[in-house]
Amino acid sequence: MSFFESLRDKAVATITQVLDKKEEVKLTKDELFCKEYNLPDGETILSESAAEVGVKSSHNKDAYKNIPFPQGRVYATQHFLVFRDLFDHRNCCFTIHLLSVKKVERLPSRDYGFALTITTHSQISVTLYLIGLRSDSEKFAQTLKVILKKNLSNINKFQIFLKTCYSEYLLAKNQISNEKIDSPPNGGLGLEFKFPGNAKDSKDKSKMKLWFDLFRVDGRNLSLIKTPMFYKLVRVGLPNRLRGEIWELCCGSMYLRLADQTEYEKLLSQNMHKKSIAIEEIEKDLNRSLPEYSGYQSPIGIERLRRVLTAFSWKNPEIGYCQAMNIVVAALLIYMSEEQAFWTLNLLCDKIVPGYYSKTMYGTLLDQRVFESLVQSTLPMIWEHVEKNDIQLSVVSLPWFLSLYLTSMPLVFAFRIIDIFFLQGAKTLFQVGLAILKVNGEELLKTNDDGTFISIIKEYFNTLDQSAHPNSPNPKFRNITKFQELLVTAFKEFSIINDEMINKHRLKYRDSIFQNISSFVKRTEIRNLPKLANIDQATLSIIYDRFYAFVESYNVTLGSGSSLMDFKAFKRFMNDICDWIDNRDHQGAGVTTDDFLRRLFDNWDVEGAGFISLSDLVIGLNKLVEKDLMTSISNFFELYDVRKLGRIDREGILQVSEDLLCITSPWKDGILFDRITDGLISQTALNEQKKNPDFEGEIIIDRLKFEHQQIERYLSGASTFIQRAFEYAQPVEEEILIQDLVMDNKISHNAALNPNTPVFVNLPTFRMVVLADETYELFFSKTFRKSIHLDKPLDSKFDSIRNLRSMFDGLLADGRKVARVVRDRVDVAANNVLHNNEDNSSMKSSKSKVHEEEEERDDDFGVISINEADKDLLLGAEAQVLTDPVHPGSGANRDLKRLHQENGNVPDSERKDEKGEIKNLIEFDNS
């Protein structure tokens, strides 16, 4: 079995397994873990333990949480310490980047076992009470120590990184942290061109203050403890100046930015002045991205947008640029610096909505199908109505998903949805979509055409700020806006829509979506092939399938990978359809059909790139199966007339005859019969019958005899060919000859007879030589052409492989690019210099545009106290409906609490001082 066959069988086996089970390719535990905590690819759990945590900060006087000792599980990975509570994974979770750990101490413990106190740069101390065997706890502590040391070498990165976080600036400004940050970090365009919406209306300042308090007590950026308050604050809408940072924290792009601090600038500088299709497409759309926002009426905004989109296209050539990305990035850039937006876009395309912006947009198509199906199951009335009236739901919903609602509703509202989207992921898009339909259900049921349907929803989006119940006698109800109602509907009523359900649906429709894409791509590609005389449409379709079946790296459905065929694949392709290819291993000896195939390949590879496209292939095949004898001979001639001089030289003639010998082998060896032999056989049979008209039964034909005859004929054909060719070959023209001779200073009067004298055959001579032999003439007019079975259907097993493999790759490719990430990491490892963003200085110009009234730059929260009414309002009604119900602590939790109190080993500041003296207990100190 050849290598390829075994590979193929293996692939089929795997794919069948995968598809039979109809299950998603199982992610490993580590992969699932990374997914859940939005950790970068490649993190693995190095050690884990059951634990309880106690969180303390020097600023927690007005702490609002009352669950001091959540129980859960703690994990150590290469760069993170992760804790999730057992309660609901929402009560107290943290993902602390190890770079932000300043100190780890072991607590002296009496009976309770083993405890570590971790102090972070944000001045919170987390005490982990490890539960389990003492030796296991020791192991955990040991692992933690080792990885902390490993991280130490990157401490530089961390220092630089902190200066890019608005949260750090905010605290430093209020003398809460010891960081020296004098100027606000690079941020979004909004800092300069004003943020959309009215900051007063959205209670921006109060929100800012709440976050400020949260940062002091629960930490921030790389060392934040997520408590219910965190989620609450995200859900009531993020304050303008923190929005970018919280987005990247929620989705995890912050970690990517931390890991690769030079990549963005590098991508830009390395690709400066380069051109690509993506670049052209981006240029077209730069002025067409949120054009009504003042930042994009200025070269500053346009330039940032250009840089982020182009950098992304260079990093992700398989995606390049997709319309809608311009809108998304333009939106991100209002709140984020270029680098923040760049990494967030990467994460978006890789993980959150994979395939949305790919070349075939398979993710978009798939999720539209999923959305339809969710409408069908959760809003059956609407679904039936839409079906009955042939209303194209996707016209309405596709832009919602693709532009994350940014083009559908007023920006202020879209950003609120995006706040939640970065926190909760793609399911948010579905929940909001369903809620929109549900809220407008009554109206929508009255429509019977797309037009009205669309205008109802348009109108709805334009009135989101209006009361949802304008006629209610209860002023409380009257105050609820349509937008609030939408959020409540989305996240309360459609909270059943979870990731698992979406994944299940995606899996269900994957096949049909991929099938559609495949057939569309095929149709388009075949249509764009040149018109050919000798190959019909049906055959083209088979060639297309076979081409991609053999071009392994290509993946039609994902629109990524190479769509070119190399020689190896070409050989397999030809082997599948030609009778004359010799597969035996000649171990390098003599001429084989490989030489002829190589000649074909080089001839068809017009650009000499070592690859042929589908178009090159069909043009070549079209010549190979030429029906006209004269053209067929001249096509063959061309193969050897490499320099296109209209002649084949001595070497070439020898090559032709050897190749002919090879490719005529099946006939020359008597394996296949040509038309002459066939004719002779039927003639013989006929004669036999004539002689013996009454004979019934089989006529015995001496196959061997015909075989021998044919072998004779081919051998004589071959020798006649070479003889004639040299007989009629002409010497190279006199003048050239003389020149050569003069230069060589050698004189020979008898050039033509000298075996070393250059001779050549031209096309007419070549034709004559071929036509002089009956066998070879037939070979060029029929035998050869008939031995290439272009329309041989692709082995059904094979065909399915192609389609299925594409799908298989699709499953694997979703959001996982481990190999590339590793490569990129290696690239970056060397250089650790951060290029400071120069934009900052040039941005100060248009400050005047900002109204004083809405100017909220004074972040001096040290002196400002929050308006209590505002706080209630913020965290009251809206937040309440949006927040998962928080149950009071479970029994186990209460017991634990008591336990802690009894043992009295809650670390507090006085205690810490005492412990500092016990030197051998310090596990790690980085301060």
């Binding site: 759309d285 949120l290 809108i327 996707s394 037009g451």
Partner: protein, 214 residues
């Protein structure tokens, strides 16, 4: 004939490369407006506009599609059952003309057999005052030839100055046979009341924009 003109619904789809001005043509036709920096269409947009040609009123249901190559996959969803199509290119962008050719081919292969197609070279304003024709990259003849080969209506337009825009829709309307209209709606109300007025109408896009009810 005493019947009031029943509005004939015509499903019309716009196809063509990104940024050639499809949405701008629609905006001009529907709202007589123009935006300098129009955001790209995501997926597709749907608009309607009535248009009176002679005694006949046509209600255009316009499907404006996204132009970027990768959105082409979505196009079949929008041109299915379309009775009319505008294939738009930008006369200053040769690549957009090549793309237009592809779209014509695709429509002939995939769309309804009796679809009426108009080839539209947009952004005429850019070459209007351009003496040396330095901006124009696709000649009128090239456009005309393609239209002739493929049996299309042909217009050069400017969504910006509104030059020839209404004419496109009137031209299409006059060419749509009355019998094929209303097909996609499945609801064939007014069927008995409809009178074939096609013969009464001037063919081609020569009627003035005043005829258009927009």
């Amino acid at each position: 004939m005493s019947f009031p003109n029943p509005a004939t619904s015509v499903k019309l789809v716009l196809l063509g490369e990104a940024a050639v001005g499809k949405s701008s043509l629609v905006l001009r036709f529907v709202s007589n407006d123009f935006q300098e920096n129009k955001e790209p269409t995501i997926g597709a947009a749907f608009l309607t506009q009535k248009c009176t040609i002679g005694e006949r009123t046509i209600k255009y249901e316009i499907w404006d599609t996204a132009g970027q190559e990768r959105f082409a996959l979505l196009a079949p969803m929008y041109y299915r059952n379309a009775q009319a199509a505008l294939v738009v290119y930008d006369i200053t962008k040769p690549a957009s003309f090549i793309k237009a050719r592809h779209w014509v081919k695709e429509l002939h292969e995939q769309a309804s057999k009796d679809i009426t197609i108009a080839l539209v070279g947009n952004k005429f304003d850019l070459v209007e005052d351009d003496e040396e024709d330095s901006l124009r990259k696709v000649s009128v003849e090239e456009g005309q030839n393609l239209a002739e080969e493929e049996g299309l209506l042909f217009f050069e337009t400017s969504a910006k100055t509104s030059y020839n825009v209404n004419e496109v829709f009137i031209g299409i309307g006059s060419k749509i046979p009355d019998s094929s209209a209303n097909q996609p709606e499945a609801i064939r109300e007014n069927n008995q009341g409809r009178i074939d007025l096609t013969s009464n109408n001037a063919s081609g896009g020569s009627s003035g924009s005043g005829d258009c009810a927009c």
